[in-house]
């Protein structure tokens, strides 16, 4: 039996992902976790603080891996521009890699993050979107070096589309096959398909003025 705090976070993670934050009551969570209602306020203070705790526990590690992979590769490259597909791989794959590391609890969090990407609430933005935007800026610089002929605004929009494809895949990650399920492709197949798709999208011929070719 794991400890109360962890049990609450696990249940919250799953229920927030399935029903959304506002539609999930603390009673739903504590009933699911098999703990007392008052334990939530004792351990976390408020419902919003619980949401932040749920994000912080797993989103930090994902983003740290994103940064470390990029840093390490840039260090190895000694000033040369990185390969486009490599950069996209570093950006896209950590969520799915961690999902598999985390076992049964992984998909819950990944779904939650997938949905959070289209969330405009101020509470979600604070604990989720703000740190993510730092990552995006960092990758935007790397991508600009890999695609030096692509118009800056166009690159920003394409990065936006990359995030959309990734977020949607995360939100519906239950469509991927895990060892126990019948339907759906294994995560590795989907990940590779995603990388191929967005790599080609980033390299698309540009509009009439200002061209990127290869």
């Amino acid at each position: 039996m794991t400890d109360t705090k962890t049990r609450v976070m696990d249940s919250a993670e799953r229920l927030f992902a399935e029903r959304g934050f506002a539609a999930t009551s603390l009673r739903d969570i504590t009933a699911d976790a098999g703990v007392n209602l008052a334990a939530v306020n004792y351990h976390f203070g408020t419902k919003e603080a619980l949401l932040s705790a749920v994000f912080d526990r797993r989103f930090g590690p994902i983003n740290q891996e994103r940064l470390e992979l990029l840093d390490a590769a840039e260090c190895r490259a000694e000033g040369a521009a990185l390969d486009l597909e490599e950069i996209l791989r570093f950006f896209l794959l950590p969520p799915f890699a961690k999902m598999q590391e985390w076992g049964d609890a992984g998909p819950n969090f990944i779904r939650l993050v997938g949905r959070a990407h289209s969330d405009t609430n101020e509470q979600t933005r604070a604990s989720f979107l703000r740190p993510f935007e730092g990552i995006v800026s960092r990758y935007e610089v790397a991508l600009r070096r890999a695609l030096p002929n692509l118009d800056r605004a166009e690159l920003r929009w394409r990065l936006h589309f990359v995030i959309g494809a990734m977020a949607h895949t995360m939100a519906w990650c239950q469509m991927m096959k895990t060892p126990g399920r019948r339907r759906g492709a294994p995560p590795e197949i989907v990940q590779e398909a995603l990388v191929r798709f967005v790599s080609a999208g980033m390299r698309a011929p540009a509009s009439d003025r200002g061209g990127e070719t290869s």
Copy 2:
């Protein structure tokens, strides 16, 4: 002064898009609309029925246009396969075209739909996702004809990524410039960028086994 029913739907549309369904109370809506609380139950019955009404009002026309554009083009082609980019244009552009037709109220609904794409609630699925899935199946057939060498499962996933890129762009459509705003690109620019991006993604070289080249 427009009629009460319309005012309620307009406010609901905006607030559902901004805060989400569960986080928006009927009191928020009626206060924003400047109508009496009881009017909601008189005109719509329940809060869920109001949500359905909000979807039905605008999502039907969008999907009808998607179908009509595809039908008309297939009719003109007289049995020949359509061009990939043309198909994607028919699928992707109606939401944005309608958004601009609808003026100030347009972006609210488009954001709502963008968020709904990653919603797994049963209530949202019923009034939104089910009809959409019919459209997707129809387009999947057309795409398979345009990309006959692409593996079927791979095509499904790529269509999934297309939807993700589109949904994310819809959810953040306030980033596009409308006549009165300073920042952001005009919608036409973004739409074209999206079409170019996903067209290239769909045509990406396939994995080792089973290839699609041009």
